[in-house]
Structure formats: C-alpha cells, structure tokens
C-alpha cells in the first residue's frame, strides 16, 4: 500500500478512536445523498416498468387498428400469426357500458376477448373465481369495479350497452342483459381494476351490434422489445391498417415518467453536492490544521503530487465508502418501502396514496445497474473534487511557510 494511502486511511480513521467524527459524519452525508438519489430512481424505474408492463398486458405488444372496425378479424388474425415475429394475434372490441347491481351502478370499460386464448394476460390476475368460466352469460370484473357494485363471484349484474338503447322501441327504456360474475381480477393497476369487465368477443358483438367485426387486434410478439421495428414492417406490408407498438400506445405518459426521473436525478443529486461541499470545507479545516504536518512530509521527501493524493484520497475514500453505504441504505429502504410508506401515510396521509395517485396497490421498484453506476460515478467525482481543492492548496504551499504558519 502506498504510504499516502496508508496515511490517508489513518487520518480518516485514527486508531484508538471509536467514533472518527469527521469520517463518520461525512460518510453518512454521502450515504444519505446516494440513498435518496437511488431510492427515487429505483422507484421511478418501478413505476415506469409497471406502466410498461400494464400497457403491454392491456393493449398487447402491438395494437392493430383501422379507420373502421376490422372486417373478418379471424382471417386477419390467422394471417398475422403466420408472421415469424408474431407469437399470437387475437381480435378484440371494447366500449363503455352502464353496469348495475341493485342500487349500485358504475360505468364499465367492457372488453370483448377470446376467453380460450392462453395468452390473455388477465388470467394471471384472477383473485376469485375462474377465468375459463367466462361465457355468453358470465363476466369477469375488475376488483375495484366489483367492490363498487358490491358483488362477488356468483352474483348477478345488469348491463346496458349503447346498442341496446338503439334497439329499444321508441319511448321505452332498453332492457338490460343479465350476467353472472364468474371471476374477479386484481391487477394492481387501478385504471384496469376499477373499470374492466371482460366478456367473450362473440357476446360483445351481440351487445354492440358489430356484425362480426372487431375494433382491432392485439398482437403478442416473440420479442416485445422489438415491437417498434416489427410494427413498422407490418405497417409497410398492410397499408390499410395501423400497427401501434406498445411503446407508442401511451408515449407521452412514458416520456413524462422518463423526464420526471431525469429531473428527480438532478434534484436529488443536489443532496450529494451539499454533502461534497461539507466534505470539502471539513477537509479544508483539516488541511489548515495539518499545515505543519504537510511541511514535515516535505522534509521527509514527499513530493507535491503525493501530498495532493494524501488529501484528495481522503475525499475519494469518503465518497467510496459513502457510496457503498448508500447502496446498502437504498436496499434497506426499498426492502421495507411498503412498511415505511404505510407509516408515513398513517402519520401524514389519509389513505392509500400510492394506489389513488399512481394507480398501483404497492410501491413498485425496478433495480437498474446503470442508475447505480451513474450515481457512484457522479458521487465519486464530486467527493474527489471536494478533496482535491484543499489538497492542491496544501501542496502548493512552501514547506517553510507551512511549518511557520501552523
């Protein structure tokens, strides 16, 4: 170990001292800065990933639409399935409907699907009942919608579609369709859970009078990440249809999340900057206090570069240890995030803030190695710079002045 590193470590962590105040407080400051930065980044990643997943699961990897409802959707689905990039293709139709259980009613987003399709993502989110029971007389409801209607599996609900109103005799109210609730779905995505009602596409066709047409198709791709290029290729091959990759379905929303994450990075990085300034000022006082030692090192033959390294390394070491401590703190906070958020909500909030604002039932997270690398890089640069300035000042002094002034 070079002598300046040995001495830097000893000056940071003097032997015989249980609590090296300067090092401990500085490391804690950096760790808090890094942790706040990474907690925010990881949670923002989680929101982004959750939204991307929900978008893909709700709309497929690629949505196929046209200016008018798609004619012979089964034929189109068969043709698209023949493409090497497509794993499955399923027609769908969707529309709003009034849904009621006695005195409780709601507007549902009804979606006509193929219940036998093994790729239907809603299968993974069945909380009660059976997805396979969906048929012409049965419906699957989102958990929030079922709660607002006060229904459980086996209960009946009444549904009015716009087409039923058109069919009713003039001056008479349309008659509803009665459906039995066969499944309750809980995705954790409030937009889906509070509105979704899933019925077979054939039944939707009856209720909305589509005449065998569909509003579009959802494609599942073998490589969802390549949806943009696949959509561009399929669009070029079929000019009458629009192929919208999942990345574009709610593009502005995803961009807003990305932008929010970038802005939060810079805001949170200010904490690390403040910690670095604190390190710089404390190191400056240490350097002034140690001026005579700097002079002594010169008498022992230490070069200026080595004196610079001695003090700059102290800033860097604090940065390194603080960064790793920050990583640990980040992991701890994120592991217990729901408990922490629950406590904060109990103390300051008035309910399930995450679910109501961000449409998720728990705080999502997604670890991204690049966030950790970027945070570590910027933290090390700033803490090293914080140590470098006093180090250059110390090394620039004449040994005779350093020894006289101390």
């Amino acid at each position: 170990m070079p002598w300046f590193l040995h001495l830097a470590l000893r000056q940071l962590f003097p032997p015989g001292r249980r609590f090296p105040a300067f090092a401990s407080v500085s490391i804690l400051g950096v760790a808090l800065g890094v942790a706040s930065l990474l907690v925010v980044q990881t949670v923002m990643n989680g929101f982004g990933e959750e939204h991307r997943l929900r978008i893909r699961e709700s709309f497929g990897d690629c949505v196929v639409t046209a200016a008018a409802p798609v004619e012979r959707p089964a034929d189109l689905a068969r043709a698209l399935r023949a493409d090497s990039a497509v794993r499955s293709a399923a027609p769908y139709a969707e529309g709003p409907a009034l849904i009621r259980n006695g005195d409780f009613s709601a507007v549902a987003g009804v979606r006509g699907i193929d219940p036998s399709d093994p790729d239907q993502p809603a299968r993974r989110y069945v909380a009660f009942g059976s997805f396979d029971d969906i048929d012409d007389g049965r419906v699957a409801l989102g958990a929030g919608l079922a709660r607002s209607l006060r229904v459980r599996v086996g209960d009946k609900v009444e549904l009015w579609s716009p087409a039923l109103a058109e069919r009713a005799e003039k001056g008479r109210a349309p008659l509803p369709v009665e459906l039995e609730v066969c499944a309750v779905i809980r995705t954790g995505f409030t937009e889906v859970d509070d509105r979704a009602a899933l019925i077979p596409l054939r039944r939707f066709d009856d209720l909305w009078a589509l005449g065998g047409r569909a509003h579009g198709l959802t494609l599942r791709l073998k490589e969802p990440a390549e949806a943009e290029s696949v959509a561009a290729r399929l669009s070029a091959a079929r000019p009458g249809l629009a192929f919208i990759p999942w990345q574009h379905v709610k593009r502005n929303f995803l961009e807003a999340i990305r932008f929010e994450k970038t802005m939060l990075f810079f805001l949170m990085f200010i904490i690390t900057l403040v910690a670095s300034f604190s390190i710089g000022s404390t190191l400056f006082s240490a350097v002034i206090r140690r001026a005579r030692e700097v002079g002594v090192l010169a008498t022992l033959g230490a070069g200026r570069a080595e004196v610079v390294l001695l003090f700059a390394l102290q800033g860097l070491l604090i940065g390194m240890i603080g960064t790793f401590a920050g990583f640990g703190l980040t992991w701890t906070i994120l592991t217990f995030r729901d408990g922490i958020l629950g406590t904060v909500n109990r103390l300051f909030g008035d309910g399930d803030m995450v679910a109501s604002v961000y449409q998720f039932s728990r705080v999502p997270l997604h670890y991204d190695a690049s966030d950790f690398l970027v945070a570590a890089f910027f933290t090390l640069v700033t803490t090293a710079a914080a140590g470098l300035v006093p180090a250059l000042w110390a090394a620039g002094r004449k040994p005779s002045e350093a020894m006289r002034d101390a």
Binding site: M1, W3, H6, L7, R10, Q11, P14, P15, G16, R292, E293, G295, V296, L297, A298, T299, L300, G301, A302, E306, K398, P399, S400, M403, R404
Partner: protein
C-alpha cells in the same frame, strides 16, 4: 581532509516588513564534513531557523548557493536531497499523531521508496538504537516528550542522511531529558558518521559541538 557533505556559500535572505526589507542572513557561508557537528546559536529572530530551512531545502535564499552530498549523486541542491541526504529534527517533534512510533519512523523510509517490509525492519533497528524498541507500537500521544524526540531522531536518521539538521531539539524538554536526548543524538550521529548542524539557544549544548558559530545581525561568525 574529507570532502564537505554540506556546502553553503554567500547565503542571503530577507523578509518584507512594513519598515522595508528585513535582512536576516547576509553573506553566510558554511561547510560541514561527514561526522562533524556544528552548532549555531543566536537570539530569537536572529535567523537560525531560516538558515536551517535554507540548508535543508525547505526555503530558497535570495542569493547564494547550497549543496548537499547525496550518496551516489554527489553534491546537489538540498531540495533534491530531502528525506535522503538531509534529515530534520524539530523542537516540537512533528510526529504524525495517527501513526505509531514504528510507523512514524518507517514512513520516512516509505516516502523515499523503500519497500514497507524493509522500512519497518530498519525502523525497528533505529528505535532499538534510541532505546524505544519496547514502545514501537505506541502512538505519540502515549509517549513522553523525550520519547517523542527520540522517535523524531530515529525518523530523521532512517534514510542514512549525510546531514542531520536539528532545530532546537531540546527546546521542549526538561533539563534531564534534554541532556539524555542531546547525548543520544551526538552519540548516534557520531556512530553513523552523519554530519550535524544544531541550532540551539543552549550554550551548554552548543559547546558540545565540534565547531560552534553565532548568528547575529545576519552574519555567521565562530563562537
């Protein structure tokens, strides 16, 4: 007669003061040979420390030239010889408070590129010579003033300097400890054949050097 290991010729140094330049050294010349001890006495502010710092390369003269013998390199400017050709002992010991006695001594070796194992071994030997082998692992805060000065002496000698520059090495010690340290210093440099330039207020210690000077009015004259 052996060649000088320290040669200073025509040294001049002045400091700026509100009343104009204050000359502290004026045409000072000095030659010291291996094994020789030279004392410099003078009143406070007479320029003794300035002379020592210029001789050791910590400060530059306004005029004149200093050369120190660096083994293998011949006579060279003292700044090049810091740590190897020149060793310093200070009044306040100036030990690194976070390092043990052994580490303080070995540090001087490690700074000049000696591998740490070898530096530690040599530091151990020197601590033995100054009577501190049993206290090698102690921090300076756990050592007495005399012990600290003995560690500082070992540190100054660890790289076999040709010249040892001692600035009031007994100034912070009681009479008995000062006597012990001075005897030890003179004995060790005599054994090692190191030249000694001793700056001191004490007439008694100055008298024990082989050559004695007084610095007054910027001029260095034999006592």
């Amino acid at each position: 007669m052996p060649e000088p290991v320290l040669r200073a010729a025509g040294l001049a140094r002045s400091y700026a003061s509100p009343a104009g330049p204050l000359s502290v050294l004026n045409e000072v010349s000095l030659e010291v040979r291996a094994g020789e001890s030279v004392s410099v006495r003078g009143s406070s502010g007479s320029g003794k420390t300035t002379l020592l710092q210029i001789l050791g390369g910590l400060d530059l003269p306004d005029a004149g030239k200093v050369e120190v013998l660096l083994p293998g390199r011949g006579l060279c400017p003292p700044r090049m010889a810091l740590g190897r050709g020149v060793g310093f002992v200070f009044q306040n010991y100036q030990l690194m408070p976070e390092l043990s006695a052994l580490e303080n001594v070995a540090l001087a070796g490690r700074i000049t590129g000696v591998p740490s194992d070898e530096a530690d071994r040599h530091a151990c030997e020197l601590l033995g010579q100054v009577g501190l082998a049993a206290r090698a692992d102690h921090l300076p805060s756990k050592l007495s003033g005399g012990e600290c000065q003995r560690v500082a002496l070992a540190r100054a000698l660890v790289n076999h300097p040709t010249v040892l520059l001692a600035d009031e090495p007994t100034g912070n010690l009681d009479e008995r400890t000062a006597e012990e340290v001075m005897s030890l210093m003179l004995g060790v440099v005599a054994t090692l054949g190191t030249a000694l330039v001793l700056v001191t207020h004490s007439r008694e210690f100055a008298e024990r050097a082989s050559r004695r000077y007084v610095l007054s009015g910027g001029a260095l004259s034999p006592a």
